[in-house]
Symmetry: C2
Subunit: 422 residues, 2 copies
């Protein structure tokens, strides 16, 4: 029987190596969806344009299509007169050709007619019977958007792994992609264990607390492009855990539990995990702070993470260990977002453990960022993390980080970035 | 009949003022949803905790609950022996009291029993029959998370207008909120007009281009917390436009069209808008570049924006005029994201028009950002915007912006922020 008292802690690097030796995260599959559903989805292929965009030379203004050389010398006081031979509308082939000494009326977006190579804006013209006075010369290609000038036929416009937002969706519309093949969202089953936790919304009996982790971790999964399957609270009892884990492994691509791994001298989850498939539990305790009571397993080629019950610990371990796996399974390539900052006090690691110190950032002098640690000893507190901007890492081998040292801070949320810039 | 040739351009500031005089954006309503659906939604109320969180003093470690003063003087070589009187589990009231000279076994998260005021970690203890040897002294409150230390009863934990993400959802779970009242997503009806545009996925006849705007603007709406109702392509003909606008005004909170306002000497959309309700068209052409052919109307207290057909122009005008209205209607308070940068070339405005110059940013020396303008004259190009990081504004009164000047750049996408930091 595994005992929490006799955990054999492995280092963070060893834990990652052991997991990597037993499980290689791969995209869970692709699906073809309509462009209108594609916001925040991840491209499964490079996207190549089958057309020049625009597909033909277009006018960028309302005015007159001309041969540029016919306008040379035209000025406010010395206009050039050219004969109007027709009109070009949008969306149809021009029925007119512009020969020397002539021009054609044209509107924004309409195709440049044969013979013309520039457009004079209507503001610089005047009509005189069947002729148009040109009051400003144009050069070749002026006010003309050339075929292929936006996107060339055969050009790769977006790369596999791109997360689609406004501009990317605009580019896909431009090349005519009504359907788009994207990576499936990895499904992450989540449940919390612990005799003290109660589902939010229920009444809070004495000595009970509301379950934070299943909800916060669900949101963290969505933020990484995953789909969360929140299975709620499962009691810390072998049979119930076995049923819950089996169900989770059947329906999800990753399983995450929290709590239960340090609630007593005997841990049930690792024991149950070992009965469900090979190789079973790989890591049982990590030399890390916070998050020591973390278990990692692989069961029939699906990763299972048993995270600590403390919300701040659970979310940090999720960020460090689960998020990279989840991103890979969703075909995403997001890199950690790291800034440099000056630490405003001496920071101590937990002896022999890699220590993640959550910090708040503020702007100092000369555009430097200052990092202050958030109160420690509150890994049970959700507000600690909600107030933190990111974390810095103190390695096992370091004795401390001196006040004034420059450290790397990995940021938690994109929405905080802007306040540290410019 | 309105004619594009005789637009009376108003300034950007006047356009905003005229719109504000005729329409005050207000949240479109609220709805109560479950916490598990609340990611990226916007809080409609301040959220106040009804409980101390945690609701009781908890142990943050596995070990023994003690009276701290009983451990004073305990050291590795001189342990203090205390008598074990019971065990405290999570989720239930302790059935034991810790009196002088005694202690109780306790696990992480369990309530501190009566009489105890600190917890000794199990690592610093040894068992001897019915007594426990304490090898390290603890101070009062050590390894104890006090009731209310995370969140106090009555504390406002999140403010109205907060957009919910991982940590905020964790905080709501912590205070037991299973349901949450959020602002409704404003509905934005979108359609594109123009004889030259074709729905992506259809075959591209000669002189036609794929519709970019309805798709890119739909995504921009979603990015602002709105719900987009993409009505596709509507032909530039009075009856069809009237039917489409009436349907849009009936189902949506905001209506956005693009194209059609500069396709010929006579504009149909403003004419139709004036027949649909009061006050009708308010702004018909803005002294702005890009985006001059922008129409703003209010019809029976719903705002209607007719944006230019050029994708880059349409998206920029959306950002400047529509986005702030949409955010207000969704109860969001997001501020523009602005950084300072040094311009790498002299920038010229379009004479008499407020000019928005799209720029790419890169890091220069000493942490300064450098801004280079993206190729102009390509407002029809979607790739121009996709490559731009943001824009800088040149006011009507400015002659130019000198090379080397420091300007403010408003960023388009949060995901680009990090690369300019730290």
């Amino acid at each position: 029987m595994r005992s929490a008292l006799f955990r054999k802690l492995v280092s963070v690097d060893d834990a990652k190596r052991i997991l990597a030796e037993n499980y290689t995260p791969k995209p869970v599959g692709t699906e073809t969806i309509s462009l209108s559903e594609s916001y925040d989805r991840t491209l499964a292929n490079n996207m190549v344009s089958l057309h020049d965009i625009p597909p033909f030379n277009r006018s960028t203004v309302d005015g007159y299509a001309v041969r540029a050389e016919d306008t040379f010398g035209a000025e406010e006081d010395h206009p050039v007169s050219l004969r109007l031979v027709g009109r070009v509308s949008v969306g149809e082939a021009p029925r007119v050709e512009v020969q020397r000494g002539t021009l054609a009326e044209i509107v924004t977006g309409a195709p440049i007619p044969e013979g013309a190579d520039a457009v004079v804006m209507i503001e610089y013209t005047a009509r005189e019977g069947n002729s148009i006075l040109i009051r400003q010369a144009v050069s070749t290609r002026e006010n003309v958007m050339k075929a292929g000038s936006d996107i060339r036929k055969g050009e790769t416009v977006l790369k596999k792994g791109t997360v689609l937002s406004t501009y990317e969706i605009g580019v896909l519309a431009a090349i005519g992609s009504a359907k788009v093949e994207v990576f499936k969202r990895p499904r992450v089953a989540l449940f919390s264990t612990g005799a003290e936790i109660v589902e939010p919304g229920k009444s809070l009996a004495p000595r009970k607390i509301f379950d934070i982790n299943a909800h916060a971790l669900s949101a963290a999964v969505v933020a990484c492009g995953g789909e969360s399957l929140n299975m709620g609270i499962v009691q810390d009892e072998a049979n119930q855990l076995k049923v819950a884990l089996q169900k989770a492994l059947k329906t999800a691509d990753i399983v995450t539990t929290s709590g239960g791994v340090s609630v007593g001298p005997t841990d049930i989850i690792p024991k149950v995990l070992d009965t469900l498939g090979k190789p079973g539990v790989l890591v049982y305790g990590i030399a890390v702070r916070p998050g020591k009571p973390t278990t990692m397993a692989v069961v029939d080629n699906k990763p299972v993470f048993s995270l600590p019950g403390h919300p701040a610990s659970a979310l940090l371990i999720f960020h460090v260990f689960v998020r990279p796996v989840l991103l890979s399974m969703g075909g995403r390539k997001e890199k950690p977002v790291i800034v440099k900052a000056v630490v405003s006090e001496r920071l101590f690691p937990s002896r022999g453990r890699r220590t993640y110190v959550t910090v708040t950032l503020k702007k100092g002098r000369a555009g430097r960022l200052l990092a202050s640690s958030t109160p420690s000893g509150l890994s049970g507190a959700i507000t600690t993390l909600a107030k933190a901007d990111g974390f810095t890492v103190i390695h096992e081998s370091q004795q401390f980080v001196e006040k004034g040292a420059v450290v790397e801070v990995e940021l938690f949320k994109p929405s905080t970035y802007y306040s540290f810039m410019g």
